[in-house]
């Protein structure tokens, strides 16, 4: 059997780094469907997974891909799929099944410009609201945004860890630029990589209640074939997992699946600050745009403009407390993202009208240059 974790320095794309991150996190099943610019993740895993005892399946479409991933997760195997806009749209219903049935798995979206077929080979960050609300019904979700190939490696591991800890599909929202960019990626030694796994049932099987939350609000999870005779349904269900279709049952289940996220924000939300301590203007950005925004901060600082950057590693749940606190100390926000204003709206909402909030956006197909960000900073403040 070949090494699972390829410790060392590599010159690889973000997509390949994502695949290696998945393997390092313990992913052993990938169900996928080819789509630019995420295909390389599937290609790399098709070669690597069977070498380490895992399974790669190319399914007939993205709906089948996510359905197979949910099934594999209930078989007790850490599972992932990767796609881009059109495939992401097709996966939405079953992401909802994963939320409702509390199924850990990772969905990677290497974003390209839309709507529809859009610009298949060019990047965007315009699926961020879809990541939040794309499946029907009200729910909480965890969404991470990597900013480099190295970060694709780490955020994929984090995505698995959070999905296993909180039992839900976790979305990694990358983009074409990061996915296709080749850069140095350092893969650490296995003992330096934190791996979390789903909580497991203890005690008597006949007394086990399938969805009875543990101390952190998350229920332990059995696997198929272990003798628990579990019933899993996308219908509203009670703690036994049985369909329970009253208003009260709905409230109980919704409280369970939303509170496990809402009450663990400190563990889930990750952000990075750059020159924020004395900043008068705060740039809010994520993914590839956070990276170009860093250059804009450097350029602005050279010109004496006191600007800093809050990089959202976790985009959802939205770090609104941090934005609210920043609104006390800065004179304005600038959100940088490759869309026409999605996270910008959240920043505006969280700022609560205390200070103005501006967007540096782009309809997609190109990164936002540091020059453009600097220009807006100068024009606006």
């Amino acid at each position: 059997m070949k090494s699972v974790i390829l410790t060392g320095e590599h010159y690889i794309t973000g997509d390949v780094a994502c695949a290696e991150g998945a393997l390092a996190a313990g992913c052993r099943f990938f169900g996928g469907y080819p789509i630019t610019p995420a295909t390389e993740i599937a290609e790399h895993l098709s070669e690597r997974l069977p070498l380490i005892g895992g399974t790669f399946m190319q399914m007939e479409d993205e709906i089948a891909a996510i359905a197979s991933v949910l099934g594999a997760s209930w078989a007790g195997v850490k599972s992932m799929t990767a796609t881009s806009g059109p495939g992401f749209s097709l996966m939405m219903e079953n992401i909802g099944l994963g939320i409702c049935t509390e199924t850990p798995c990772v969905v990677v979206n290497v974003q390209r410009a839309g709507p529809s077929t859009g610009l298949p080979t060019l990047g965007a960050q315009a699926d961020m609201m879809q990541a939040r609300w794309g499946s029907h019904g009200h729910y909480e979700i965890i969404v991470l945004a990597p900013s480099s190939p190295q970060d694709m490696f780490y955020q994929t591991i984090t995505a698995f860890n959070l999905s296993e800890t909180y039992r839900l599909p976790v979305l990694v929202m990358s983009d074409e630029v990061i996915g296709h960019m080749s850069e140095k990626v350092i893969i650490p030694r296995p003992k330096d990589i934190e791996i979390r796994s789903r909580p497991r049932p203890k005690g008597r099987k006949d007394r086990f209640k399938l969805f009875k939350p543990g101390p952190n609000g998350v229920a332990p999870m059995p696997s198929a074939g272990e003798g628990f005779n579990m019933h899993i349904t996308g219908l509203t269900h009670d703690e036994r997992g049985y369909p329970a279709l009253t208003v009260e049952d709905q409230e109980e289940m919704m409280t369970r699946i939303t509170n496990k996220i809402r009450r663990n924000l400190d563990d889930i939300i990750r952000t990075e600050s750059y020159y924020l301590d004395d900043a008068e203007i705060a740039i809010i950005s994520y993914g590839v745009s956070a990276r170009t925004s860093m250059a804009a901060v450097d350029m602005a600082r050279e010109q004496g403009i006191k600007v800093g950057l809050l990089r959202l590693v976790t985009v959802w749940p939205f770090p609104e407390d941090q934005i609210r606190k920043l609104a006390e100390s800065v004179k304005g926000f600038v959100t940088v993202e490759i869309n026409l204003g999605q996270i910008h709206l959240e920043v505006q909402r969280s700022a609560g009208g205390k200070v103005p909030s501006f967007l540096v956006g782009h309809p997609g197909g190109a990164i936002i240059s540091p020059d453009r960000v600097l220009e807006v900073l100068k024009e606006t403040f």
Binding site: M1, K2, R28, F29, G31, P50, L51, T55, M57, M59, E60, D61, I63, A64, A65, A67, S68, V69, L70, G71, A72, S73, W74, A75, G76, V77, S79, E93, N94, L97, S223, A224, G225, E226, G227, F228, N229, M230, H231, I232, T233, G234, L235, Y242, P243
Partner: protein, 281 residues
Amino acid sequence: MSENLDKTGGKSVHPLDYLLRTDRIPHMWCPGCGIGTAFSSCLTAIKDSGVDVSKVVMVSGIGCSGRAAGYVNLDSFHTTHGRAIPFATGLKMAKPELNVVVFSGDGDLFAIGGNHFIHAARRNVDMTVVCINNLNYGMTGGQMAATTPHMAKTTTTPMGNPETPFNLPLMAIASGATYVARWTTLHTRELTDSVEEALLKRGFSFIEVLSPCPVNYGRRNKQKPMDMLKMYQEKAIIKNGAPPFELDIDLERGIILGKFADLDRRTWAEQYDRIYRSANS
């Protein structure tokens, strides 16, 4: 029947009760519906086959038949509409020792889920698919399905179905299924034997079960609850190995039942092990 007495409570216990979530009974199927009969046949087959029930998993989609997963006392999954087969594929491939049964309806498996069916058959994924074919969408109140006979009335074909229904065994065989059979809910012995054979067979097995839906289909097509069963009795022609092209459901000529395919072909997992794993180990 003394062996069926629960000695502690003196209450009569059905021999299949251990395979049922008795705390979820009564079920939600309508009077005269055939799903319960087909479901019982499946449970009997699971019992008779001697397979380790802790490794048997039932996966359903959405619809009346999709509710079966909620009544069976096995690991059971009630998934999204049409997606039982790919969900089951993931379960099976991630844990090959599972014996996976997909139990769902014609609308779920062959309209919204048709693509998954043909690809799972093509790959020869080792699973058993039991399709309850009641010729319409029962759960939503009796709309036209991909199996509704030409000119039959449904709520969405008030002047008769202008379309042609699928010949399901033909599709299964053409797609690569290694075991294909068709029975009705009147032919419970044959159906039970078929399900048992399918459970023990390695490869993609498909069993179509014609089942009456008096409330939603029969009512609009001048069929009283017993008429459909009488028709199964009068029109059924058991013809094992019948050519798949003759298997259209034709009420004038008769409905051909039987086992139409039982062949051996490497499964997806066997091919994957052989080509991807053995060379590398």
